[in-house]
């Protein structure tokens, strides 16, 4: 039942004892403020970590080649290992459905020009699967497709920043771009969630690059993603197997670390997950520590308040207040103060995080913030805490004999 008179009594008590109310509210507000800021900053750190790996698929495996550092099977040290189309096909056939997507990469640096605009860019010659490996987001047009690879068409897909640099005044799609003297048709533009450099890339079919740059079947790198159904251990075993087979295929010593290099993103992803988990755990411990400190703080204040109000309680009892009524005024007052001041602390915390976002960006903290569920959770925790903090002193107060309370001076 809503009892307006009870609320009037409580608000009068809060309002007329303002210093007391503000002091007790301050404790709670401060605890929640710290809690919010701490949570927000940790979220920001986690965001930064996750962003660093958002660029590429987390189940990627990169295969690169270099020169041998050990003599093996009568072959000399310093021999250059060169991947070719047949190696690409070998991996594709050998591992079957363990491979989700696979693409080769050839890197070339080119001078690109359109009309009077000119600039230097990196060309990546790739297979169509590359789009999924790199998480390339198409803005307009299409990506490199299998027909481009089969027919060695002279088409390119350019990054958002390339388009901005060279095609400031017009639309890039359908235009011809000059890359170091050869004209290519632009069939698509893309963006990428990675850093800006990713958006300064020009993609072309792998076969076109092989034809234009040297008429060979060389590949610089082979990237693939493993079947997402594999767990972490299976993924690591898979990349070890690829390494072993390739080393065998190129007659490289099993202990040679340079000639064939296989990098598995699962390792990095696992580390990021571990760090995120660690940070989360840390913030839970500190955050809940802060909350508990706040609860203990308000409990102490409530005990003090009850002590201070002992005489008032005695008077009220002498005038006919029932124990239940004594408990409710003290308890509800406690809940109101905790809830309001906790909410104020939350608002200030969110405000501080908002205000500090641009500054924090320099310290690897991206988009710090707290989620709605956290806000609601913290508010409920507060109301519970206020009830808990208020109940015991209120219960004790209601048991004080009026004669004892009245003698209290």
């Amino acid at each position: 039942m809503f009892d307006i008179d009870l609320w009037r009594e409580i608000f009068q008590s809060i309002n007329m004892n303002r210093t007391r109310s503000i002091l007790s509210g301050f404790t709670v507000a401060f605890a929640i403020l710290l809690f919010t800021i701490l949570f927000g900053i940790t979220n920001g750190l986690i965001n930064t970590f996750e962003e660093g790996f958002k660029d590429d698929a987390t189940n990627s495996i990169f295969v690169q080649s270099g020169r041998t550092t050990k003599a093996h099977k009568g072959l000399q040290v310093g021999r250059k290992i060169q991947f070719k189309n047949e190696d690409f096909d070998f991996i594709k056939e050998e591992f079957g459905d363990k491979v989700e997507f696979i693409t080769a990469r050839i890197y070339k640096n080119v001078t690109a020009s359109f009309r009077s605009e000119q600039n230097s860019y990196t060309v990546r010659a790739v297979h169509p699967d590359h789009q999924f490996l790199e998480k390339t987001l198409m803005k307009e047009g299409r990506y490199i497709n299998q027909r481009d690879v089969d027919e060695r068409t002279k088409v390119v897909v350019i990054g958002r920043l390339v388009e901005e640099d060279l095609f400031a005044k017009t639309i890039a799609i359908g235009k011809y771009i000059n890359l170091s003297g050869i004209q290519y048709k632009i069939v698509g533009t893309f963006s990428d969630e990675g850093n800006d450099n990713e958006e300064r890339i020009i993609y072309m079919p792998v076969s076109t690059a092989q034809l234009v740059y040297g008429n060979n079947d060389y590949l610089d790198q082979i990237n693939l993603t493993y079947n997402p159904k594999m767990d972490f251990d299976q993924a690591l075993a898979f990349s070890t197997l690829i390494t072993k087979k390739l080393k065998n295929r190129f007659s490289v010593a099993p202990t040679d670390q340079r000639a064939i290099r296989v990098r598995n993103m699962a390792q990095g992803a696992k580390a990021v997950n571990a760090i995120s988990f660690g940070l989360g755990l840390m913030v839970m411990v500190i955050g809940f520590g802060t909350l508990i400190a706040g609860i203990v703080g308000i409990s102490n204040i409530m005990i003090f308040i009850v002590k201070e109000r002992t005489k008032e309680i005695g008077i009220r009892k002498a005038l006919g207040a029932q124990p239940k009524q004594i408990v409710s005024i003290i308890l509800i007052e406690s809940v109101i103060i905790t809830t309001i001041s906790g909410y104020v602390g939350l608002l200030i915390g969110v405000g501080v995080l908002d205000w500090a976002t641009p500054v924090l960006k320099d310290y690897f903290i991206k988009d710090p913030g707290v989620s709605n569920s956290l806000v609601i959770g913290a508010t409920i925790t507060l109301i519970l805490a206020g009830t808990l903090a208020g109940y015991l002193p209120a219960k004790r107060a209601s048991r004080i004999k009026p004669i004892v309370a009245l003698r209290d001076d």
Partner: protein, 233 residues
Amino acid sequence: MLKISNLHKSYPIGGSSLHVLKGINLDIEDGEMVAIMGSSGSGKSTLLNIIGMLDEADSGDYILDGLPIKNLTEKKAAVYRNKFLGFIFQSFNLINYKNALENVALPLYYQGLKRKERQEKAMFFLEKVGLTDWAHHLPKELSGGQNQRVAIARALAANPKLLLADEPTGALDTGTSFEIMEFIQKLNDEGKTILIVTHEEDIANMCKRIVHLQDGVIMEDTFVNQVRTAQNV
């Protein structure tokens, strides 16, 4: 109105216990104005507290308006206090953050009256003690005599059967004391039963009956000729 027989009360002090009331027998009729006198430690305040249900007796009977007061739950005691008793204390015991009107209205709040009704009634009693103009002042803005009048208005507000006053003039100067006593006499004239604890002879003489308490027993219980305050002023 009030019947007390063979009432005992002792307080534990350290290991032993202090026997404060040693078998009190007291009958008070409707409309009486009784002073309980005695030196400090005679047990007069303890007796008043038991009568006021602020404290409990160890043994003996206490019947108030036909109701035996024994083994009350806190809740029941609260209801009885609210319904039957009005308190006037030496130190006024007003709630310091409530103004005069709100203080007077508080027992009515615990009676469950509506706000408007409470305020009207409280105003009526404030008018009766002559403090209409001070209704919205806090206790700290009022003089001692005015505060005691607020307390009296509060005690009256619940329309109690019995008015209990514990040294009502203890904190006041002589002039103000007489004013307050005059007022209490007027209430008695209107038919209220009043019980006053005091150690001052002249205050006691303004009542109709004086009960002398010494070492926890009633030494003397006499009806006296009431001294009207008007004769003193």
